[in-house]
């Protein structure tokens, strides 16, 4: 049944997050970007919103509410409208925990999820991206070889969000045993950050999303017990893992784009040139109209992908479309935002140049988030 109506509960959550984004996230964003650091206490502060715990099974101490990619899409849009970098940091624990909840064995869930149900911030990290100019999430250089009741992991990873502080890393690798490539060959392994052979590289320096802690990573013949293969014998549903990540990025990019639009509109009404507000010029007004058209389109595509996930269907197509479309539009739209502000769009007294950097950065970081 075609419906664009969030549940009352979802409306409630959305309003809460909207306030949080306006009062906590947005005001801290610029300083965090200039300092390339998260604001003090930010992770704990967002932790208390319970974004992760609520949707974890009661059995492991979670809220026991049904996993809802749709609700999470609403949440991520609002957070990213505040600031995309801080939003992704806030969502990092979910990226790890939800992967365990959706793909892990009961034993793995019992072992790894309780820490996400406590009062104190806990993080896990997703290690998927690799250092290649032609990186593709389906063709990985990192390899996992079965060796008795162990797996031996070798490879290099980049842009591992929260990799500097996560207790465990979820490392994506190609299963050497797998016949054929693509999704079928993808496996995920739970790797303690302290495991022998794991080297945490230096902090990534990025164009945008600077406040987001991300590191590079080397795995040199790292041995993990077979029990650390996510999903055990069965392995993971790689399609779902990738789709959940791309749909999440689409929601984040939607919020980011909306933030640009909501900033550009009042600016264009206040700013005068040639005797009237610049918003009264069709050339400017039509750019603003397109911002509205595209943020709507981005949102509906993200919702559609989230809905497919919520129905438990294969969402590969929907998520790829939502992410691809949002990635392109977020850059276009933040670029237009800079143009609407003119010289003021180029200086750091306004947030728009930062959002342009955020958009260009987040839109190429495939596989960093999750719904």
């Amino acid at each position: 049944m075609i419906s664009f109506g969030p549940t009352e509960e979802q409306e409630l959550i959305r309003n809460t997050l909207r306030d949080f984004a306006a009062q906590v996230v947005r005001p801290a964003a610029r300083a965090a970007d200039e300092a390339s650091e998260l604001p003090d206490g930010f992770l704990q502060q967002t932790w208390e919103l319970g974004l992760t715990a609520t949707q974890l099974p009661a059995a492991v101490g979670g809220g026991g509410e049904a996993r809802s990619p749709l609700t999470n899409a609403l949440v991520l849009e609002e957070l990213a409208c505040g600031d995309a970098a801080l939003a992704l940091a806030a969502a990092a624990p979910s990226a790890f925990a939800f992967a365990i909840a959706d793909h892990g064995t009961p034993e793995q869930q019992k072992r790894l999820l309780p820490r996400f149900c406590g009062d104190r911030f806990a993080s896990g990290a997703l290690a998927w991206i690799e250092p290649s100019p032609v990186f593709d999430p389906l063709t990985l250089g990192s390899v996992a070889e079965a060796k008795g009741d162990k797996f031996v992991l070798t490879g290099r990873k980049r842009f591992v969000v929260m990799g500097d502080r996560a207790e465990d890393l979820l490392v994506l690798a190609r299963n050497a045993q797998a016949t054929g490539g693509g999704f079928a060959a993808l496996d995920a392994f739970i790797v303690p950050r302290g495991a022998a052979g794991v080297t945490i590289g230096e902090r990534e320096k990025l164009l945008g999303m600077k406040s987001l802690p991300a590191v590079s990573l080397t795995l040199d013949r790292v041995e993990v017990p077979a029990a650390n293969r996510l999903g055990g014998e069965r392995g993971i549903d790689a399609r779902r893992l990738l789709a959940a990540s791309r749909a999440a990025s689409a929601a984040l990019l939607t919020g980011l784009a909306r933030g640009v639009m909501e900033y550009a509109i009042p600016y264009a009404k206040d700013r005068h040139a040639f005797g009237e507000a610049i918003a009264q010029k069709q050339a400017i007004a039509f750019q603003l109209a397109d911002m509205r058209i595209e943020t709507d389109a981005m949102r509906w595509l993200a919702w559609r992908a989230a809905s497919a996930l919520e129905h438990g269907r294969d969402a590969t197509r929907e998520a790829a479309q939502a992410f691809g479309y949002a990635a392109e539009q977020a850059v276009k739209l933040s670029d237009a935002g800079v143009q609407v502000l003119g010289g003021h769009g180029f200086i750091r007294e306004h947030p728009v140049e930062m959002w342009y950097r955020h958009a260009r950065t987040l839109s190429v970081l495939d596989t960093v988030a999750a719904l």
């Binding site: 419906s3 109506g5 918003a279 109209a289 981005m298 479309q321």
Partner: protein
């Protein structure tokens, strides 16, 4: 709850529409190449197809609303052929959308079964409905409206049994004076001037009308409100409400055809061994797959704005802004998609032995009629900037 899945009944209806569309498609080329004729009222296969209304029935709690599903039905029908779809009597015309948007219950009941065209544009006024010169004068003696004026670009204008016509009661009252009237072809003084020769939707006639002291009964004023409201809002807004239905509908018509182009292109490319599977990033794709995926995403994006606009109106929410969004987005999307499919098909795409070149021509009207993309953007910009027509021209 947010949802984009079809109920069993939704699917059944859309499957029926697809089957019927495939029959219509058999006549697409013939209609295109014989523009002087009109598509047959009844296709030979008609007996096997009772029509979508017969299979629809009342929506249950799990089913999509009629208005929203209606957009997918419209798209599903033009997926077969635009002109054949439009040739159908019974509720198919843009005027019917106007009727259901602003007609009284009695009027809807009385005229809903007719094929109604929508006559707005005039030789002088292009996309600016507020400049309507056609006049309507009430003849108290006979209790009739007397209509005088000219209309052009009237979609389905020749075949329609009647038209919803915009006319002003008082030019000095500006937009407020504009009302819409239902004028049956049988009314005295209703002259169909000629049929335009066009780039696309050729069999779907586009007519020019002339009204010479054309007389219609007093109760033919759509909505029935004869008073000219204060200010310049009310009356015109009332008329404009029509667009909140017709704009998403016209976008849906176009998107049905761009979907047809995408389906044909996928079939051809996959038949030639091109891998169009989703999943890999840019470095795991061919140029063809990369471009095709972008076109498909654009199609979905545009269609969702249409569904959003219709879902809002169906749920009693104001959808003026969203209707223009869907029209603007659909209007540009169908151009880019059909152009892009031809890029992918190469020479094959411009040969009249296939229909993709026809879809390329047919969709081009989408961004023009019912208000051009420029008009839609003006409406959208005014809405988000909270500007009136004097602040953003």
């Amino acid at each position: 709850m947010i949802d984009f899945d079809f109920s069993e009944r939704d699917q059944r209806v859309l499957d029926y529409v697809r089957a019927e569309a495939l029959v219509a498609r058999k006549y697409a080329r013939q209609c295109d190449e014989n523009e002087q004729d009109f598509p047959p009222d009844e296709l030979p296969e008609a007996k096997d197809y009772p029509g979508v209304f017969a299979v629809m029935g009342k929506p249950g709690p799990e089913d999509s609303g009629t208005v929203t599903l209606g957009m997918l039905i419209a798209a599903g029908q033009t997926w077969g052929d635009y002109s054949v779809r439009m040739r159908r009597g019974g509720g198919g015309g843009l005027g019917n959308a106007a009727l259901s948007a602003s007609g009284t219950p009695e009027q809807k009941a009385r005229w809903g079964g007719l094929l109604l065209a929508m006559a707005i544009t005039e030789p002088g006024c292009g996309s600016d409905p507020s400049l309507v010169q056609t006049t309507a004068r009430l003849d108290e003696a006979t209790n009739e409206w007397v209509i005088n004026g000219e209309k052009i670009f009237v979609t389905t204008g020749c075949r329609a049994q009647g038209a919803v016509v915009w006319a002003t009661l008082d030019r000095s009252a500006g937009r407020a004076g504009i009302k819409s009237f239902l004028i049956p072809k049988t009314a005295p003084g209703f002259i169909v001037a000629h049929k335009e020769k066009k780039l696309g939707i050729r069999a779907d006639d586009t007519a020019a009308y002339v009204f010479e002291n054309c007389r219609i009964p007093r109760d033919h004023l759509l909505g029935g409100r004869e008073a000219i409201p204060k200010g310049d809002s009310g009356g015109f807004r009332d008329v404009m409400k029509t667009f909140n239905m017709t704009r998403p509908a016209t976008a849906a018509f176009g998107l049905g055809m761009s979907q047809a182009a995408l389906d044909f292109t996928r079939e051809q490319l996959e038949g030639a061994g091109v891998d169009l599977a989703y999943g890999a990033g840019i470095h795991g794709k061919s140029a063809a797959a990369d471009r095709f995926h972008r076109l498909e995403a654009l199609q979905e994006a545009a269609l969702l704005t249409v569904l959003n606009a219709s879902w809002l109106s169906e749920n009693g929410k104001h959808n003026n802004l969203e209707a223009s969004i869907s029209k603007a987005k659909g209007g540009s999307a169908v151009r880019e998609i059909t152009q892009g499919c031809i890029d992918l098909l190469g020479p094959l795409g411009v040969s009249r032995e296939h229909l993709v070149e026809k879809w390329f021509r047919d969709v081009r009207i989408t961004d023009i009629y019912e208000g051009t993309g420029q008009i839609q953007r003006l409406i959208i910009a005014r809405a988000i900037l909270d500007y009136d027509r004097t602040q953003l021209k």
